[in-house]
């Protein structure tokens, strides 16, 4: 087989037009998983009775199954469950008209929620208990002490992991096409399929992912540096960051 460089040259810009879709998937999924992850982290940290067990079981389930499987389940099962719920409630909402992208956000955020929850909880553990009390002693409310003192410190320790989550999330968007969301991999398959040049189309996607993630990593590095002003003491064993 000859590699059709001309095709790559023409396809690359066409596929690149779908980068915003990929980025939107990353951003929205992240925005969904961060607060939920933080909540889970808090529940686990505080060992809230009952809830903490539920959260742990959920986390173990998500950690224990392949992402593709999660995607298939979310895409093929949730609509029917939602439909029957709405039907019982007598609601007129047509679940099936819902943009399929929402299933993608949901499915992609499952894994990152779990990783973020773990990272933040580990982050919380590393914050010296005295810090919280110090906050109280200078007249902050418990809520304020948490938000202004404990949480930022926990975030600094968790930051490398959160960076990893973002990178993983970006890579996982390559599976969104299973849910009929046309992002870069999907577009590559469509135009690759239309002229039956799948291999070249994949080379384009390969190049684009490297570019996207390389830029993303630089941004994350900047962010990490910004946040690191909150770092105190030597609790930075978390920064053992792979690669």
């Amino acid at each position: 087989m000859q590699i059709d460089y001309e095709f790559i040259r023409r396809a690359l810009p066409d596929i690149a037009r779908y980068i915003p879709v990929t980025l939107k998937l990353v951003v929205v999924s992240f925005l969904i998983s961060f607060p939920i992850g933080a909540l889970f982290a808090w529940i686990n940290y505080k060992k809230v009775k009952g809830l903490s067990q539920v959260v742990k079981a959920y986390m173990s389930l998500i950690r224990g199954t392949p992402v593709v499987l999660q995607i298939y389940v979310i895409y093929n099962v949730t609509p029917y469950i939602l439909a029957s719920i709405f039907e019982k409630m007598g609601s007129e909402i047509n679940v099936y008209r819902l943009d399929t992208t929402w299933y993608a956000y949901l499915a992609l955020s499952l894994s990152s929620t779990v990783t973020i929850a773990e990272a933040l909880r580990a982050g919380l553990e590393t914050v010296n208990k005295g810090q919280f009390e110090a906050g109280l002693s200078v007249g902050l409310s418990a809520k304020q002490a948490l938000w202004h003192i404990v949480f930022p410190q926990a975030l600094t320790t968790a930051m490398p992991v959160i960076g990893n989550v973002t990178v993983e999330l970006t890579k996982a968007t390559s599976l969104a096409f299973i849910m009929a969301v046309t992002e870069i991999t999907g577009r590559a398959k469509i135009i690759g399929g239309s002229v039956l040049r799948y291999f070249e189309a994949y080379i384009c996607v390969f190049i684009l992912y490297i570019l996207i993630i390389a830029v993303l990593e630089q941004l994350l590095k900047l962010l990490e540096r910004k946040i690191s002003v909150y770092r105190t003491g030597k609790h930075n064993y978390m920064s053992v960051k792979a690669i």
């Binding site: 096409f177 299973i178 399929g193 799948y198 291999f199």
Partner: protein
């Protein structure tokens, strides 16, 4: 015999086939696999017992050297025709009744039966069937030279004609129609569906069914049908449930499968039979898709297909697998 043991036997056969194909790496791979499995089994504890048969075959396979000569015949198209050349034909292993691997690990189905007849008539070739369960991958494999022929109940598309060899003679017929919920039963053509603003179930990129929609939209830019692209190979069967449950309005579907999946009492989707209606309206011949540089092979297969069509064998085989004669239906729709 229970199902489980069928599966196990299937595995033994299957693994053995794989091992036979890889003579060069066979011994090392076999050893590593065995080592891997042994470690794996110890690691897996309670769930390990079921993988034992697979482990056994893998250890057993390296002792079988008898097939050394088959697999050395690699794709060298300049080879003299008196040598028997092995042709790799890739297909999904679960496309009943088109092509599938049965419980005994043997390939069977309409396209396979037709190919066997052709194989018998062509002494210079020996067909070898390879399992590949992703359509994208299978087509790519044919363009990269990994395989020579791909089976997928393939329809004609301009791109396929340009990038591969489509034999002049068709291998089968697969009349198409729209699956509708019974209340929309009167919508039977793409044009009517477009008029009614119906939304089609997502279509597999690069697929023949999708091509029908794309082609329609190319010709009717003012009144296109609405559909999205998606990825899983199961899309077209998922569509039956999608339409029945109201998730999408309609889908384009081959008549041969509708009969067997929905209409037939024991069809996998018979539960939706009351909710759905189907009428074939679009004639559609199907082809074996052959690698671009395999003109000789393509011509030979095409010639044999012509003979089989002429003497009625194709229709006979098709009727056997589908329960009706799709060639007749196709010819009728053509009028």
């Amino acid at each position: 015999m229970t199902r489980r043991s069928n599966v196990q036997i299937y595995f033994m056969v299957r693994e053995e086939k794989i091992m036979k194909k890889t003579l060069l790496t066979k011994r090392t791979l076999g050893t590593v696999l065995t080592l891997g499995l042994t470690l794996g089994l110890t690691a897996c504890g309670s769930s390990s017992s079921a993988s034992v048969p697979a482990a056994k075959t893998e250890t057993a396979a390296p002792s079988d050297d008898s097939t050394a000569s088959d697999s050395t015949a690699v794709s060298d198209s300049t080879e003299a025709s008196d040598d028997v050349r092995s042709i790799k034909i890739v297909g999904k292993s679960s496309e009943y009744p088109l092509e599938f691997i049965d419980d005994n690990g043997e390939w069977d189905g309409y396209e396979i039966e037709v190919l066997r007849l052709i194989d018998d008539a062509l002494p210079q070739y020996e067909f070898e069937y390879v399992e590949g369960n992703d359509q994208t991958s299978n087509y790519t494999g044919v363009s990269t030279g990994k395989y020579q022929v791909v089976l997928s109940n393939a329809f004609y598309t301009d791109e396929r004609a340009a990038n591969y060899n489509l034999p002049a003679n068709q291998s089968g017929a697969s009349p198409l129609g729209l699956i509708q919920r019974t209340e929309n039963a009167d919508i039977t053509s793409l044009e009517q569906a477009a008029d009614a603003g119906q939304i089609f179930s997502p279509s597999l990129a690069g697929d023949g069914l999708t091509y029908q929609l794309e082609e329609y939209n190319r010709q009717n830019p003012d009144n296109p049908v609405q559909f999205e692209y998606s990825d899983p190979n199961s899309l077209w069967t998922d569509a039956i449930a999608f339409v029945a449950e109201g998730r999408y309005d309609t889908t384009i579907f081959p008549a041969t499968y509708y009969e067997q999946l929905v209409t037939a009492e024991d069809g996998s989707y018979h539960q939706y039979a009351d909710k759905l209606s189907f009428k074939a309206t679009i004639p559609c011949p199907t082809y074996f898709v052959i690698a671009k540089d395999e003109t000789e092979l393509s011509d030979a297969i095409s010639e044999q297909l012509g003979i089989l069509r002429e003497n009625g064998t194709l229709e006979e085989v098709a009727t056997k697998w589908y329960g009706f004669n799709p060639f007749d239906l196709d010819a009728e729709l053509e009028k």
